[in-house]
Symmetry: C2
Subunit: 365 residues, 2 copies
């Protein structure tokens, strides 16, 4: 049995707590002989800054590069509000994404039947919801240069960020979206602002070409990003796969996440290109939620997004499809049998702790 | 009685239909002696392109500059999908915003009691909702240079848009938001991405300073734009005034708009700086909705957003507070008495036409 090298980077806030539940599952999978793992644990974000003066150390980057997959918790918090920009906790995550070449961020938004009533939306609008946002993750305004604040002669400051996309960057993310749609309901909605942004013009042009050349069996629609945000609230089930740039993906995936009732539910996968030699791809898996410092350390966090991220890891990085299916089924079952962390419990109802939720999922395995 | 010079730019799609209802109200106000108007009507968007080969002519710009206020319908449509970028219908609107210096875009999202059930959100989450998005409208990625697509040596293309903000641009929009909050529930939420964008860092810094210097009586909170989008869906009533940049404002205001049940309901005001001599400010009023070519010309459009924009015009440009209150009350009354265009009618219920809705509002005046 192959041994899978996993790097665990719990990060800040609730990161360590939800990662603890992932470790339970990993132990269970090893013990049951489902798969064999070699895990390491390291610091990232504010925790790394406090220790190394950097939000991720070069040694941690080396470990991430050598691992078969990285499991990432969450980073950030008011505690680090005044550290220099290049050392802010988020910089560690952005470096991982960029330096590992994780250009494809898959963010499924699935509404668990047991939780349809937890959504802000009327239940009939979200029951059965199953969409995926495919977000470009290593380009756009997140990384374009210049990115700076300069002081002008009159004493004013001027801040610049640069939204930058090349044909190649759009081409490869479009292919990920179309490939994925083929395994699903065969529809891709491409969101941009071609009416205002040149990057939107190029985005639309390249997606249209890739579609015509290699994916004309998939239904493609173009939608303006502002309209897409609105449509996600109006009638989310019209979507299957939404593909968009880094910044729009950041916002649209948060909206999509909220539709499902709790941000504590949603996993994500960030994938690199397949190595033509080995067929392997770099990958990082993280919950969509943040570090939630306000509830950290109190056993209140919902570990499902993190555990779901492990399931995506089993599926995409290790090809352990059966184990992934089983883990996802265990999550569904734990929910169906009534286990609820505070974020998804109905008002007044009893909530279980982070660790009890993890145990319920292990028990359902 | 002063005569107010109004320029009407109906534009494309449903623009002319909804503008027609505004003209009814303007006639009524003149006839009743509430105010005296001098109106002109001109082309903009695709309609202007078809006639002049430009989405707005210099002559129209001259009229807009000379008017006391511009009422704008909507522009765009698939018909003009392949006109050159600089002539696309939206360019006419962007030129108006930029050349008239309309930096402050006020987008109220109010949930009319009669319509709470039309929202996708559960009624209790939107009943009584009353928030305003204050969107910076003449800066950011909409106008920053370079903004171009270049062909690289390897044949690939590269698209660039530039997000650009200066201290002064942020300062003045922050003041608009704080001033407005003082007349409301005294709270401003400033949305940016300071964790990723240098413009976000400067945004947060300047808003914080303006607040400390001149508005410390107003409650200020900072929120990441992605989180803000999510919170708008989760619990919108936590907000009073949200202030943000041009692109975030575009998206957040569409989300906020949708919460109210129909995009066909929401007006907006785009204001310039006050002239220190005359105390006047340039202004343009437009519905938040687009040109909806799919329903154009069929009497299906909801004219309320456009009529509400006239109410904002009476209030902000002409100081006709009583008339504005009266017009807004007439909208509420027409809704309360059951008039519904198709977008806000319950399924299967009878809907009124664009013109019948306008008549119902005139009747309620
Ligand atoms: C933490 C932050 C840098 C990050 C982003 O903006 O990408 C987060 O919001 C996300 O969506 O993963
Ligand atoms: C039509 C378009 C240029 C415009 C924008 O992006 O600003 C619209 O979406 C809006 O919100 O007013």
């Amino acid at each position: 049995m192959a041994t899978h090298k996993l790097l665990l980077l719990p990060g800040d806030g609730i990161g360590p707590e939800v990662m603890g539940e992932v470790e339970k599952i990993v132990s269970w999978l090893s013990k049951e002989g489902v798969a064999s793992f070699e895990t390491e644990r390291d610091l990232v974000g504010g925790a790394a800054y406090d220790t190394h003066g950097k939000s991720i150390s070069d040694e941690t980057m080396r470990l991430a590069d050598a691992a078969d997959a990285v499991l990432f918790g969450a980073v950030g918090g008011a505690k680090w509000a005044s550290v220099p920009y290049e050392h802010r906790p988020e910089a560690g995550l952005l470096r991982l994404r960029k330096d590992l070449g994780l250009f494809a961020n898959l963010r499924p938004a699935i509404c668990y039947p047991a939780l349809a009533s937890a959504s802000s939306l009327k239940p009939e609008l979200v029951e059965g919801l199953d969409i995926v946002i495919v977000r470009e993750l290593t380009g756009g305004v997140y990384f374009g240069e210049p990115k700076e604040i300069v002081t002008l002669e009159n004493g004013e400051k001027r801040a610049v960020d640069t939204q930058l996309y090349t044909t190649g960057e759009i081409d490869r993310i479009a292919r990920v979206a179309f490939d994925l749609a083929r395994k699903r309901r065969n529809k891709v909605s491409s969101a941009e602002k071609h009416n205002v942004m040149k990057s939107g013009v190029l985005w639309k042009e390249v997606v249209t070409r890739v579609h015509a050349q290699d994916f004309s069996d998939v239904t493609l629609e173009h939608v303006l990003a502002d309209n897409c945000a609105m449509q996600l609230v109006r009638y989310p089930k019209q979507y299957d796969v939404i593909v968009c740039d880094n910044l729009f993906g950041d916002i649209l995936s948060d909206v999509a996440a909220m539709l499902t009732g709790s941000l504590g539910m949603l996993p994500s996968a960030s994938l690199g290109a397949e190595d033509p030699q080995t067929g392997k791809r770099k990958a990082l898996y993280e919950p969509v939620h943040g570090s939630a410092p306000d509830i950290a350390g109190r056993g209140l966090a919902n570990p499902i997004a993190m555990i779901g991220s492990l399931a995506m890891c089993l599926r995409y990085s290790f090809g352990l499809i059966e184990a992934a299916d089983r883990l996802e089924a265990a999550i569904t079952e734990a929910l169906a049998s009534g286990s609820r962390t505070k974020d998804i419990a109905s008002e007044g109802a009893n909530a279980v702790s982070t660790s009890e939720m993890g145990d319920a999922i292990v028990a359902a395995l």
